[in-house]
């Protein structure tokens, strides 16, 4: 059997695949953050709580209203996104002319309020969301037993990431968005409703977080602190990729998932730290991030 640094190749492949699955979550979450930062200049600390809301609403939908998984995948991001737009309209809007720090504080406070609410209503032990029937079971790939649902997570995440990249970098709507970031006044002069554009963008970024939440519900216990656990890593991903870079967040999300997977094989205790070590190195060498532009 081939071994790489004392680890059988088969085991290594299995671990890399698991890394890729986790990377998919990082990619979708950091993508949402990057869009919001890139176009609104807001550091959205509520992102983790919005991801958690996605998972929770899927669970509530299923247990209280019989909403099936596939419907939740569409309905829940729309709901949470709409809630995000209300937050943008009523609160965030007032902070655009101020320093980043104010947006960060507001969104962080909101995250605590939302998490506190779910703690209070549903308790701390977490809820279980069953894998949808169509995706139960798994496939023996020779080197790993791959649960079908995990394969679906990778496919769905990649599809959403690519579609989003296309929308923003290649479509005319995306062109408006990017123009709105560069020079909102000029764009407004052309008759484009810039504030509406910004609201929709925030809603879209939040919807991406909720989408990741619905995807995560059958994999992880649905608990109020699930977002808080993940969000710090996702912020590191965004910083490494370059704040606001769409492609950067996708590639970095997947790449760091793989690196984390490797760390879990060779040095498990270090696996939670390695992403931050990479972040430190990247910030020292390329302060704008791997894919970022210096503004």
């Amino acid at each position: 059997m081939i071994e790489i640094f004392g680890v059988p190749l088969q085991a290594l492949l299995g671990q890399l695949l698991v890394g890729l699955i986790n990377g998919s979550f990082y990619a979708v979450l950091s993508l949402g953050l990057a869009i919001i930062f890139g176009l609104l200049n807001i550091i959205n600390f509520t992102h983790g709580a919005q991801y958690m809301m996605g998972a929770f609403l899927a669970w509530i939908g299923l247990t209280k209203f019989g909403l099936p998984y596939w419907a939740a995948l569409v309905v829940v991001p729309l709901l949470v996104g709409a809630l995000g737009m209300v937050i943008e309209r009523t609160m965030l809007k007032r902070l655009y002319h101020l320093d980043h720090l104010y947006g960060l504080l507001l969104t962080f406070g909101l995250a605590l309020v939302i998490e506190g609410f779910f703690f209070n209503e549903y308790g701390s032990s977490g809820q279980s969301y069953d894998v949808p029937d169509a995706l139960t079971g798994g496939t023996h790939l020779g080197f790993i037993f791959l649960p079908n649902y995990r394969a679906w997570v990778v496919v769905a995440s990649l599809a959403v990431c690519i579609a989003t990249w296309f929308l923003i970098e290649r479509s005319s709507l995306g062109a408006y968005l990017r123009a709105g970031t560069e020079n909102p006044k000029l764009l407004q002069a052309f008759g484009v409703n810039v504030p509406l554009l910004i609201t929709l963008t925030y809603g879209f970024g939040v919807a991406l977080a909720a989408f990741a939440g619905v995807l995560a519900a059958p994999v992880f216990q649905v608990s109020p602190d699930m977002g808080a656990k993940l969000i710090i890593v996702v912020f590191a991903v965004v910083v490494i990729g370059g704040m606001g870079s769409i492609l950067g967040s996708i590639v970095t999300g997947l790449g760091l998932g793989l690196i984390e997977g490797l760390a879990k094989v060779y040095f498990p205790e270090f696996s939670a730290t390695i992403i931050f070590l990479i972040m430190v190195i990247v910030l020292l060498v390329r302060p704008a991030g791997l894919f970022g532009r210096v503004r």
Binding site: A11, V18, S124, I144, V265
Partner: protein
């Protein structure tokens, strides 16, 4: 006639004064110090407070003619907050006894304050063996479980059932390490073999990488030296990756609440050690049903332990005729515990409440008759075996 009235009045006053000397501040006050908002609020929290209130109600709400009051506070799992609250309760709140103390840091902090103020502390929610060893006090009782009883129950009994090769999935902090160490010793002593372990960062979300390692080890039993959502996610993902049921999981610190949220489909066949199960006998069923009516969930061992301990404490106050800590503690230690929680439990000199613990296996979904019907009894572990023998206690109060 007038003289008689004066005499009677004087007698009443004298009686009241005498009673006051026995019960400090004319009230017996119990403080429930627990996690009301954090990660352990489901396994202790409001359920713990409710269990204490039930014990007081069942006692009649009064002892030696004085009312019994219950107060509760959130210690946020922080030792300093717990110690400050305890100090405030003892100094200004007339609290006579503090109970629950989920998480070891809060338990160890409050025990010290209770000793200093000469009041009683009862630990039901924490697991550290330090509580009755290096840090023992003569005003404290450790009621429900400790890491040694968990390791002994799950470790030895599972080896006896044929699970003789082990691999540990361990949360990378003091609690996980000590649970792994304790259980490894028991497994080896019982003739089993530990094939290896993997330390995962705490808290984690995705355990599949670590579980794949455990799978590759070929061990018959995967010991989960973690707790809360970490353990729940481990169980769930082990089922997802087809690791269970081929390999068995042994939860080293799981509560029935964890099984409830994970569900039987993922948790089936898992081994777990507990000091209490609602469906064990008629007494536990009757009490648990009342608890369920109030809380809409079944009690776990911490909550049941609270009820049992408060009942025992109030009986001791009554028998001692005072709420003085030393006298009440002497009565508590002299009297065996017989209630819905345990039969013939005994409190030793080091403050350890020795009682039977139970190794359970989680039922398959088809075996369960309804919600909360989760466990089948594999083995009863007698208290003398489950807990550290008194001769090995490192508590200075134990005379050798």
């Amino acid at each position: 006639m007038r003289a008689v009235q004066v005499l009677m009045g004087a007698a009443t006053l004298a009686f009241a004064a005498a009673a006051q000397a026995q019960i400090s501040n004319d009230v017996v006050k119990i403080g429930v110090l627990t996690d009301l908002s954090g990660p352990y609020s489901d396994l202790a929290g409001t359920g713990s407070v409710e269990a204490v209130k039930m014990a007081v109600e069942d006692f009649g709400g009064k002892v030696l003619g004085k009312p019994i009051e219950v107060v509760a506070a959130d210690h946020q799992n922080k030792g300093d907050i717990a110690a400050n609250k305890a100090r405030e309760w003892f100094d200004r709140g007339n609290v006579d006894m503090i109970i629950d103390l989920t998480t070891s840091s809060t338990a160890l902090a409050v025990m010290k304050v209770a000793k200093e103020k000469n009041r009683i502390s009862i630990v039901s929610g924490a697991a550290s063996t330090k509580i009755t060893n290096e840090d023992c006090t003569d005003t404290n009782v450790h009621w429900t479980y400790d890491t040694r009883s968990l390791a002994e129950g799950t470790g030895r009994a599972v080896v006896k059932q044929g699970g003789d090769t082990w691999f540990f999935l361990t949360a990378d902090y003091a609690f996980g390490h000590s649970l792994e160490k304790d259980t490894s010793e028991v497994v080896t002593a019982a003739g089993g073999k530990v094939l290896g372990s993997v330390r995962h960062p705490f808290p984690g979300q995705d355990f599949s990488s670590f579980l794949l390692k455990a799978q590759a080890s070929g061990a018959k039993v995967i010991g989960l030296a973690n707790a809360g959502t970490d353990a729940q996610n481990s169980i769930k993902q082990a089922a997802e990756f087809g690791i269970t049921p081929k390999q068995k999981l042994a939860g080293l610190l799981l509560f029935i609440n964890d099984i409830h949220t994970v569900g039987l489909k993922a948790a089936q066949d898992l081994y777990v050690t507990e000091s209490f199960y609602w469906d064990r006998d008629d007494a536990s069923r009757a009490w648990s049903k009342r608890f369920f009516d109030r809380q809409k969930r079944m009690p776990n061992m911490v909550q049941a332990g609270n009820y049992s301990a408060v009942g025992h404490y109030l009986n001791a106050v009554k028998a001692a005729g005072t709420d003085d800590a030393a006298k009440v503690m002497a009565k508590m230690k002299a009297t065996p515990v017989n209630d819905m929680f345990t039969k013939d439990g005994r409190i030793r000199a080091d403050g350890l409440h020795v009682h039977d613990v139970y190794l359970f296996q989680v039922k398959k979904p088809a075996e369960a008759k309804g919600p909360w019907d989760y466990y089948k009894l594999v083995q009863t572990v007698p208290g003398d075996q489950a807990f550290t023998p008194l001769a090995q206690s490192r508590c200075p109060l134990v005379k050798k």
